[in-house]
Symmetry: C2
Subunit: 494 residues, 2 copies
């Protein structure tokens, strides 16, 4: 087994360190010279590209178009929406000058004080303000609505404590920004996109999610309602995997975006916004991977099947290659992403470890005996199970196996979550059990004070008020004993 692989910290010994090691050793990302900003390496970016392509198709299927808005936002825009400025204007990158000049002492370049901007510009932490300032010119009448626009972009939030993919100062994301003529339509849009995200998480990432709404204190700054999908990581902590916001008329009002409705009446436009980011790559890793490396769901794996030849002579390699080329061609016809690794400078054992580390879902190996018997050895990455099968019908078998792995990974994550989700009725029990790394369904009196107290005392937050009705019976708050309409989801979170 390769040296690097051996050095992967064990998940149980130190989950955080295991994650960090894995991201680095699998070649997904690394820290850069700029504090808090990561370099996304080719293999990590290939996963993000797969995510992008699938999500982009889904956005277009649901009627959205892409556009692009400026990176920089005039400082004053942020102050236009009162809640928004509190949430976003504080920790952000501020552009104050537009020119450097040679240092008088010849030591490189310095800021030219004469090139100070009249108004400072902020690198977008999110684009509601600049976009709604633009929509003002696009919207006059109900005939101009809805506007269904998405943008793929980089954004920046000056985070103090960062972690590759999960929390970085700069990250990549998509942000949808829609404008509507009615409240109902805007709310429907927000709920629809939460559904798109949930579908993507479950059917592509193989990560089961709980759909719900955020409490007032966890809402997006400027939103009337925030819809979320919450996933459980292997350590029992929650990760917010995507959010979708019903913004009411808050941005319409802040940027004076009015329209004439069907009845000739003037009203402010209604808004939604929604986004997912490169954080999803972190979620993908933490949801499925193991001590041997990544476990990638086939629907997102850049390489789904790797084929490795095991040979003693050039003739043997030629014979194997001939066979493999046919198998690979047929797999590609079936839509499978295949790589034949015949690199001469690396030993099969090294390759086995490498592709395990990289989470390739299926490995095929063909050696001298396989050649004689017309067979191939198949290993599935999720269970590490091996079997030897005849070459006849292999391609269809592998295609089906990929689907089986996809659903197997999902089922495993679902079982894991089921085992680690409990109902708790007293605050004492809650404080004890939250240490185990659980999703806890408990009653809450609906006040921000109680929510805050639980957070301060246990580091657990209300991840969401779930949309499903399984825990919708009324009860009494575990902390205050006051009436509660339904149980909500508490967990510690990334």
């Amino acid at each position: 087994m390769a040296k690097e692989l051996k050095e992967l910290t064990s998940k149980d010994a130190n989950y955080a360190q295991w994650y960090q090691d894995l991201v680095i050793k699998a070649g997904l990302a690394e820290n850069s010279a700029v504090r808090g900003c990561m370099v996304i390496k080719p293999y990590g970016y290939a996963i993000w590209e797969r995510m992008q392509r699938i999500l982009d198709d889904k956005f277009k299927e649901t009627g959205h178009e892409n556009a692009y808005f400026p990176l920089l936002i005039p400082k004053s825009f942020l102050s236009r929406e009162a809640d928004h400025v509190e949430g976003f204007a504080k920790e952000c990158a501020v552009v104050t000058h537009y020119r450097l000049k040679n240092a008088p002492d010849g030591s490189g370049v310095v800021v030219d004080p004469a090139a100070r901007l009249e108004e400072e510009l902020i690198i977008r932490p999110t684009s509601e303000t600049i976009i709604w300032n633009t929509y003002k010119n696009w919207i006059q009448s109900y005939r101009d609505l809805p506007i269904l626009v998405n943008q793929w972009a980089n954004v920046m939030r000056w985070e103090m404590r960062t972690r590759l993919f999960l929390r970085t100062a700069e990250f990549l994301w998509q942000e949808g920004h829609t404008a509507h003529a009615t409240r109902e339509e805007a709310e429907e849009e927000a709920i629809k996109m939460q559904g798109v995200y949930a579908d993507f998480a479950e059917n592509y990432m193989a990560v089961p999610v709980i759909r719900g709404v955020k409490t007032a204190s966890e809402r997006f700054a400027g939103a009337v309602e925030t819809y979320t999908i919450e996933a459980m990581m292997q350590d029992g902590k929650a990760l917010q995997a995507g959010t979708s916001h019903f913004l009411g008329q808050n941005f319409g009002r802040a940027f004076d975006v009015t329209f004439i409705d069907r009845n000739g009446k003037t009203d402010y436009a209604w808004a939604s916004s929604w986004g997912v980011s490169t954080r999803l790559v972190g979620a993908l890793i933490m949801a499925h991977s193991d001590n041997n490396g990544l476990v990638l769901p086939p629907h997102l794996a850049p390489v789904q099947v790797v084929i490795i030849p095991i040979y003693r002579s050039a003739e043997q390699l030629a014979a194997i290659s001939e066979k493999v080329d046919r198998i690979a061609a047929r797999l590609r016809e079936l839509g499978v992403r295949v790589k034949f690794d015949s690199d001469d400078t690396k030993k099969p054992g090294w390759k086995f470890a490498e592709y395990e580390l990289k989470g390739v879902p299926v490995r095929l190996a063909m050696g001298g005996r396989d050649l004689e018997n017309d067979t191939v050895e198949i290993m599935r990455r999720d269970t590490l199970e091996k079997e030897t099968r005849p070459c006849a019908g292999l391609e269809e078998y592998v295609r089906d196996l990929l689907e089986e792995i996809q659903s197997g990974i999902f089922r495993k994550a679902l079982d894991h979550r089921a085992r680690r989700t409990v109902r708790v009725d007293t605050y004492d029990e809650f404080k004890e059990r939250i240490e185990e790394g659980l999703f806890i369904m408990a009653h809450w009196d609906g006040t921000p004070e109680t929510e805050e107290r639980v957070k301060n005392e246990t580091k657990a937050t209300i991840r969401c008020i779930p949309l499903d009705t399984a825990d919708a019976e009324p009860g009494r708050c575990m902390v205050t004993g006051r009436p509660s309409a339904r149980r909500v989801l508490f967990a510690r979170a990334y």
Copy 2:
């Protein structure tokens, strides 16, 4: 004809205004609240997305992978390569602070002076420096080479005079950054990517280009050689449509990126970089469009065929729709991007003008008489020619017509360039004829002084020293009479 269309300035009256009007009225882009930064609207972005998809496929076919590097670059990085800093460090957006705070007087937010960065950060004008600083950790041995990486990103250069798509402070682009073990390989890479760009320009954008190398004074800051493709716009001016740079060991040296070669010797890595940007959308518009609006080459048109029903009753529309649905389905099977516009609120005449403005290559119209005769009216956007054809075999006809339009547009641009390219031997004739808007092939003595003089006196620059041998015979410089190895391409440029 629609009101907006009539208001398009005529190309001959004012080419610059015609361009500006067209970009706005066709819904491609508009200026934003941030000086010099544009909003790329959905239709403009759809064209850019088509370009991206095609180029990205070509980059991958030639062995490149995508990655992502930080937006912000430490100020000191720019000074590491002496020429580079001169070219790029001057007009750029400088981040000096990382926090805002509430203004003491309650009037919004102000920069928090306590949150000053120790070292200022620059929004990338191009990423050689941050990338080579990263490559230092990726490269130890010749086995780690080549590195063939591309990134799709936004960049920023604080331009004083901006123009939608052609020159904006922020723009979108791709930048390839490769590292090699030998000089030959790095040079080959730069030339290969110039070829990829030329192929894209000619076969997708339908824009003929001249391949060449830049003179020393027009080279990329930090390059040993800059390869360029130069296109002629309809007004006879040149537009640099893509560049590819052989960077020698300049960045390897500046960032101390060394490797052990096959013989155990340590050497600096060799580099290339190459990029094209949203500027190409501007080139596309200026190369082909006319006084009726855009003319888009079918290979890049977001919608290739629009079908418009002309009807007097709901029954007639239903009958047309049934027929059109079959035609549209069959066209999609043939890989054609079709839109059926049955929007009830717009008249056919309005739609005709709208899709002409938007440059949809083929328009099909079906009315009552067509229904009776089983025919359809076809108009091609490039020539505005109309014909009526039977529905039988229509789809194959349209598919082939799209290819004919593609090559027709290219041929037209090629003829235009041929007519406006001349050889000139005296500086007097040069000064006269450059006013006509021409590509002028003339002899030059190879000195930056002569080049500068021509630029100052005529606003014409040497666009490139062409790679082809048509004008490779020696002669005498038109300005100084000194010996010249070959004619070079002079033109005024965007």
